[in-house]
């Protein structure tokens, strides 16, 4: 599998091995066979610096708790920049900015313990911590789980912007619904194997592909198809609720006298 400057979404039925795959990307696990090249270099060859790799690749874990270990939120978000050897001023600028990006304020939350946050707050802080490192590649494992819809939107906006700036983004999720607006390519894993790898349009609305791997078309798609069956809509190509609502609003203009 090769991934270049693009947004990729891995989706899966639970336990099909995607979290394991991610850990391979960042050199957290060593494959029992096969080779991983990052920028054409074998990451398990002698002399390759894994710490440099981890500087290049930012990983947001599935459970934010696994990556929050400092005493305060500010120290946690600042940990990455500190490890990069940045000076204190730059560290605090980055910390503040990263927290702001995820909808939180350093002044309010910076001195609190990351373990005394709500689950959604923890996830935001974990994402901020990785953003503060300004990595070349960003890998996120279930980044939208436990976020409220406003939080999901925020995260999608951030990722979109980063992608436009040239960052490669890899998102692992079961929630195709949320992420499909963002990515171009979807890889579906099934029992530790790649089952599908291609443009997002195919699996998003193709029930045959999805049901084979025990996934389901998003509710949005099912509703679109339902409206099609009722002959209210003629096409079904909305990727978000907003798209669909727009589509319906246009209908109104057509039928209005």
């Amino acid at each position: 599998m090769k991934i270049q400057f693009e947004n990729v979404c891995f989706t899966y039925n639970s336990s099909s091995g995607k979290t394991t795959l991610l850990q391979h990307f960042t050199g957290l696990l060593r494959p029992s066979s096969g080779t991983i090249y990052v920028d054409h270099r074998n990451i398990w060859k002698k002399g390759y610096s894994l710490s440099e790799l981890r500087r290049k690749i930012g990983l947001v874990f599935q459970f934010p708790e696994s990556q929050l270990f400092e005493e305060t939120v500010a120290a946690d978000v600042g940990f990455g920049p500190k490890a990069l050897g940045l000076d204190d001023e730059e560290i605090s600028i980055r910390t503040e900015e990263a927290l702001k990006l995820v909808g939180m304020e350093n002044a309010i939350i910076g001195e609190r313990s990351p373990h005394q946050l709500s689950e959604g707050e923890k996830r935001r802080v974990a994402i901020a911590g990785v953003l503060a490192m300004a990595p070349d590649v960003l890998i996120l494992d279930e980044p939208t789980a436990c976020l409220d819809p406003a939080g999901v939107k925020l995260v999608l906006q951030i990722l979109k912007k980063l992608h436009q700036e040239g960052i490669t983004i890899i998102v692992v999720t079961h929630s195709i619904e949320a992420i499909v607006q963002l990515v171009q390519r979807i890889i579906i894993m099934n029992h530790g194997e790649i089952f599908f790898d291609g443009v997002k349009e195919a699996p998003f609305s193709n029930e045959a592909i999805l049901t084979k791997v025990d996934l389901e078309p998003p509710r949005l798609v099912r509703f679109c198809k339902y409206l099609q069956k009722l002959e209210i809509l003629s096409t079904c190509n909305s990727y978000s609720t907003e798209d669909l609502i727009e589509q319906i609003k246009k209908l109104k203009n057509v039928t209005a006298p």
């Binding site: 639970s14 336990s15 005394q116 689950e119 959604g120 409220d148 939080g151 099912r222 609720t241």
Partner: protein, 272 residues
């Protein structure tokens, strides 16, 4: 019955702002109800759940469960037996070295005889499709599987009130549906056996579709309850829900527009 009387809760270390996590919450939940709770991040959902099984004691107001006040230390054990709690992060809940032992753990604590434990564990493993993981260390399971183990081990204790804090957040859509169907089945099984108390379910979720399964939906905002009604009624408040950062199922958002076009709401009753 769960009787929540005007409770407020503030965490000690809640930062400069000192906004209470819960503010004058009133709520009565009757036996056998299926209640969903939704709300934006940090609206107080988990705090409320923690109050229900006496992990937290409100600083003001009182929670009384089947006549037992949570603030009375003598009641805590009986309350924990009645109120089973599935935590939002399974890693905070799972303590044992194998799946089987995790499910047996709570029963052992309750002093259930070994033989019964064995029976219950076997049937729960089967019901949750976890038999093949019987001897697996839980930390090697995927996030979704851990969540299934967490729910299974709480249900093994046969709680009268089951509080589930976003139990499906790591499950794929099919896994999510299966778990919720299973819970609904367990609930109706229980109802059929007249000898057993009806199980009461309280499901915290960010997913509007899940809330549709409940008989009652509570919306929290900034530590207070702002809606408490049937999900079908609550979801009609599309604009208000959006304003507080929440979503309604897609059909509820589309419906008013389609009705304006002259379509009947009846058309949408068949959509699930």
């Amino acid at each position: 019955m769960i009787d929540i009387q005007n409770i407020s809760y503030s965490y000690e270390s809640h930062g400069a702002e000192k906004i209470p996590a819960l503010h004058q919450v009133n709520l009565q939940i009757r036996e056998g109800e299926y209640v969903a709770i939704m709300g934006h991040n940090s609206s107080g959902k988990t705090t409320l759940a923690r109050c229900l099984n006496a992990l937290l004691i409100p600083q003001a107001g009182e929670i009384v469960i089947d006549g037992l006040a949570t603030c009375d230390e003598q009641n805590i054990l009986s309350i924990r037996k009645k109120v089973g709690m599935v935590f939002q992060n399974p890693d905070n809940q799972i303590v044992s070295t194998t799946v089987e032992r995790e499910i047996a753990f709570g029963l052992e604590n309750l002093g259930v005889p070994m033989e019964t434990i064995h029976q219950v564990v076997t049937s729960i493993l089967d019901r949750f499709d976890l038999t093949r993981y019987r001897n697996y260390p839980p930390h090697l399971l995927s996030g979704g599987e851990k969540q299934r183990v967490a729910v299974a081990s709480v249900l093994a204790m046969n709680p009268k009130y089951l509080v589930l804090d976003e139990p499906t957040s790591m499950l794929d859509p099919k896994g999510r549906r299966e778990l919720l169907t299973l819970l609904a089945e367990i609930k109706s099984d229980n109802a059929a056996k007249a000898t057993i108390d009806q199980i009461t379910m309280i499901l915290i979720t960010q997913i509007p579709e899940e809330a549709l399964q409940a008989d009652r939906l509570i919306i929290m905002e900034k530590g207070t309850i702002i809606f408490d009604d049937h999900p079908k009624i609550v979801f009609q408040n599309v604009e208000k829900m959006k304003r507080i950062g929440l979503e309604v199922p897609i059909e509820y958002e589309a419906m008013p527009l389609l009705v304006e076009l002259g379509y009947s709401t009846k058309l949408f009753e068949q959509f699930h």
